[in-house]
């Protein structure tokens, strides 16, 4: 091969490889994005069915019910306007408490219960997960609009 051809070959193979890599990354990115929905949005049927997404808000006071197996927990997440019942099997984070902010990831079942496979609560007493805070804020705005 002439040096010029060699150079072209290097550049062509480099560009192809890079293109492949970028396509791979973007494809993986697209199929693994997890969207966030507030309880009000879920109530309005905006959330996807059968696909994983996140919800957030406050754990409603007095809503935590532990099932007899000891590791399955039911609770209600509220944005003060709408609520979603949630089921989770496993150990909850240390800072998971009634009246505190929470974010859960999972799928919405046909019976309207959110089956969480991950529950996140933040590692600071006064810290509210931004998604949860956002959901509460949205609900507050909606309410004021409605009462006007």
């Amino acid at each position: 091969m002439k040096p010029r051809h060699k150079k072209l070959a290097i550049i062509a193979s480099g560009v192809t490889a890079l293109g492949l890599a970028v396509a791979l990354v973007l494809n993986a990115f697209e199929s693994n994005m997890v969207f966030f929905f507030s309880p009000s949005q879920v109530a309005a049927n905006e959330a996807p069915v059968g696909k994983s997404f996140r919800i957030g808000g406050l754990v409603e006071e007095g809503s935590i019910r532990r099932q007899s197996d000891g590791v399955t927990v039911k609770f209600i997440v509220t944005d003060t306007a709408k609520v979603i019942p949630v089921v989770y099997t496993g150990i909850l984070p240390d800072l998971f408490k009634e009246g505190k902010g929470v974010v859960a990831q999972g799928k919405l079942a046909a019976d309207g219960v959110f089956r969480a496979d991950e529950v996140l609560a933040k590692h600071d007493e006064n810290y509210m997960p931004p998604e949860a805070a956002g959901a509460l804020e949205q609900a507050r705005i909606q309410k004021t609009v409605m009462t006007k």
Binding site: L24, V25, F35, V71, G90, I91, D94, H123, E131
Partner: protein, 674 residues
């Protein structure tokens, strides 16, 4: 009085940093010797004042001076002394003071170990570091002064976040910051090269050990962070692809590329512009990491500090630093030149391919970390990108990289022959394939992904053996040990670091493939069995620590009916903050970890307990340690030690030239990559 002294020292340090960032650079450009000569003493002066400032802050913490806001927020009189010292960098303000203090320490090191370098170059390098320092000290003084007073003084502090009250967290931030800040040296060298337009083998040779040391610190820092997450967060995971972890991983990926690219620039004079670009990227990502963690923009366990003005300041600083250095690069890089030529199949091309793969990997992590933040800030909806994305991207990207990692050290510089390489590596390939296929049966169950992961690891190990064996064959006369002793430290260091990657991969593969996790309800006296171990719960009893109260579980571990160990996990509640904390009990072993954490109490003394069996998990961190050790060994290579004694750059450069020619002509197939 002491905090005011610290504040004053910080202001004086700022003035010195401004001097350091301006006069020596102007002096170097205009040829004013007295201004150039200013660089070293000013750097050392700045270090002294920052040391005083840091000492004052540490003193305030140790003496429980709750009239200082920072101390009142992050400490407590019940806090044990070692954590009071650690608390001085546990807070946002303190950690930034540590950052800039370390920058000063690195600058002093540069000023001391640079006697043989041209004075103009030293002046430029230290000048650039001074400018970075100005930015950070200004940030401290303007938005987050660690010495701000609280009036009236608090009677008691509100305590250090209990998660940080841990020996791992005492040393994790300093290590990580040493790495972050260490890349500023490579960055300053790159900028100095761009300003002067001079970039030769001596340049690469000189900035290489600094970069390696920074990389070693970063590796250890990340390793400690991962280890801490494993034993302290109580979820049993070692890496969560959390934005803060990504923030430290990004400079590591680019830094790894930089270490290899510098090797080529030193040995072959190639990749010059590329090396400069990588140095700029590595430091920019270190700054971005600081920004991500410290501005509180993240939805993350680490986002302790939340203050928008800080975010705006760091963002502006980031834009100025990255923007101006990339502009400078675009303007001056053509002058630096590309350097030597090489063939499509050569060690250079393989290193370049690996560099590109590392950069694409870094790009994909950056995308996954920043995209959700950008979407959120533009109000386009809230999304999150979890571990599935990063795993889907990382495995296919790193697979060719690891394949090349085995090939590269055996390929010749400039021009290598693919058929010859295949011939030399056919046994290595065969052996690694067969072992990888059989090994999962030893573990009990064959899984395709486990075999695949092991193939990568065994491939690295097998090629290391081939490399050493062929190198010894070409090392002339003498016994095995004489020949082994003949090889340079940088040669061994490379293989050691690569071996670290292999060990790391083995750990990751086996723990992902064969770990067992169970969250179970345990009555007093009930048992659970996994991995051949039986765990018997004997109940929990209250205990109290220096600043917390806890329920301590008592769990017997039985193997073949015999009790081999007692594990005592705790559920703590810290007195000052009222925060609950899970303190798992871990039985560490060479081939497996047993991991027990307390969940919630149930009725009649029963508890929800999390029980894990994690095979080979410690190999993950051991692999990281090997990588770091490899890096340390590289820095102690003879040619760097010689350089410290010799003041003649020329002689060293001539020696270097000789060695390169030897490598080209000789059949030393292992080459001399380090």
């Amino acid at each position: 009085m002491i905090p005011e002294l610290g504040n004053f020292a910080l202001i004086l340090a700022l003035l010195l940093a401004i001097t350091q960032g301006t006069l020596p650079i102007i002096g170097a450009a205009r040829g004013i010797p007295s201004w150039i000569a200013l660089a070293r003493p000013v750097v050392q002066g700045q270090f002294v004042f920052l040391a005083i400032a840091f000492g004052c802050l540490a003193y305030s913490f140790v003496s429980n001076d709750f009239s200082v806001l920072n101390v009142a927020r992050n400490s407590n009189s019940e806090l044990p002394i070692q954590y009071r010292i650690a608390a001085s960098w546990g807070s946002h303000e303190g950690s930034l003071l540590l950052w800039v203090f370390m920058l000063a320490a690195w600058s002093v090191a540069v000023s001391v170990f640079s006697r043989h370098l041209p004075d103009e170059m030293v002046a430029r390098v230290l000048g650039v570091m001074g400018l970075v320092s100005v930015g950070f000290i200004l940030f401290l003084l303007v938005t987050s002064n660690p010495f701000d007073r609280l009036f009236p003084a608090a009677l008691e502090g509100s305590d250090l976040n209990p998660l940080l009250q841990d020996p791992g967290m005492v040393i994790h931030p300093p290590m990580l910051y040493m790495g972050y800040v260490g890349f500023s040296v490579a960055f300053a060298f790159a900028i100095a090269a761009l300003i002067s337009g001079q970039m030769d083998a001596a340049w690469a040779r000189w900035s290489r050990p600094w970069t390696t040391v920074a990389w070693v610190f970063l590796t250890i820092g990340i390793m400690l962070g991962s280890w801490w997450a494993y034993y302290e967060l109580g979820w049993g995971g070692w890496w969560f692809w959390d934005p803060v972890e990504n923030a430290s991983f990004l400079p590591w990926l680019v830094g790894t590329a930089l270490v290899h690219s510098l090797a080529v620039t030193e040995k072959r004079g190639s990749f010059k512009s590329w090396t400069v670009l990588l140095a700029i990227c590595a430091f920019s990502l270190s700054l971005l990491g600081t920004f991500l963690v410290r501005s509180g923009v993240l939805t993350s366990v680490h986002a302790f500090a939340t203050d928008p003005t800080r975010g705006v300041f760091i963002l502006a600083f980031l834009v100025i630093v990255i923007g101006s250095s990339l502009l400078l690069f675009a303007w001056r890089a053509p002058k630096v030149g590309l350097g030597g030529k090489f063939d499509l199949v050569s060690r250079e091309s393989m290193l370049l391919a690996n560099n590109l793969l590392l950069m694409v990997a870094a790009g994909s992590v950056l995308l996954g970390t920043l995209y959700p933040l950008i979407m959120d800030s533009l109000d386009l909806g809230k999304i999150s990108v979890g571990p599935p994305y990063f795993e889907a991207v990382f495995v296919p990207l790193m697979t060719p990289a690891i394949f090349l990692m085995g090939l590269g050290p055996l390929a010749r510089w400039k021009q290598a022959s693919l058929p010859e390489l295949m011939l030399r590596l056919r046994w290595a390939f065969g052996v690694s394939v067969i072992t990888a296929l059989l090994m999962p049966f030893v573990m009990g169950e064959w899984k395709p992904l486990v075999s695949f992961g092991l193939l990568l690891a065994f491939w690295i190990i097998a090629t290391i053996f081939v490399s050493i064996q062929q190198r010894l064959r070409n090392s002339g006369q003498g016994g095995l040990f004489a020949k082994l002793a003949k090889q340079s430290r940088s040669y061994y260091s490379m293989h050691l670091a690569h071996l670290g990657i292999a060990i790391f991969i083995i750990g990751v593969t086996l723990v992902n493939g064969y770990e067992t996790e169970k969250d179970v309800r345990m009555e007093i006296g009930s048992t659970v069995t996994m991995g051949g171990y039986t765990f018997r719960f004997n109940g929990a009893s209250p205990v109290s620590g220096p600043n917390y109260k806890a329920m301590r579980g008592d769990i017997d571990v039985l193997r073949n009916g015999e009790k081999i160990r007692v594990m005592q996990p705790e559920k703590r509640t810290y007195n000052a903050s009222g925060m609950a904390m899970t303190e798992p009990a871990i039985d560490t072993g060479f081939l497996r970890d047993l991991y027990v954490a307390m969940g919630e109490p149930l009725e009649n003394g029963a508890w929800v307990v999390r029980v894990y069996h994690k095979p080979f998990v410690d190999w993950i961190w051991f692999g990281c340690l090997l990588m770091a050790f490899g890096g340390m060994l590289a820095v102690t290579d003879r040619r760097y030690r010689l350089k410290m004694h010799s003041k003649h750059v020329e002689t060293a450069a001539v020696e270097d030239g000789k060695r390169v020619t030897n490598n080209n002509t000789g059949l030393a197939t292992g080459g001399r990559k380090a």
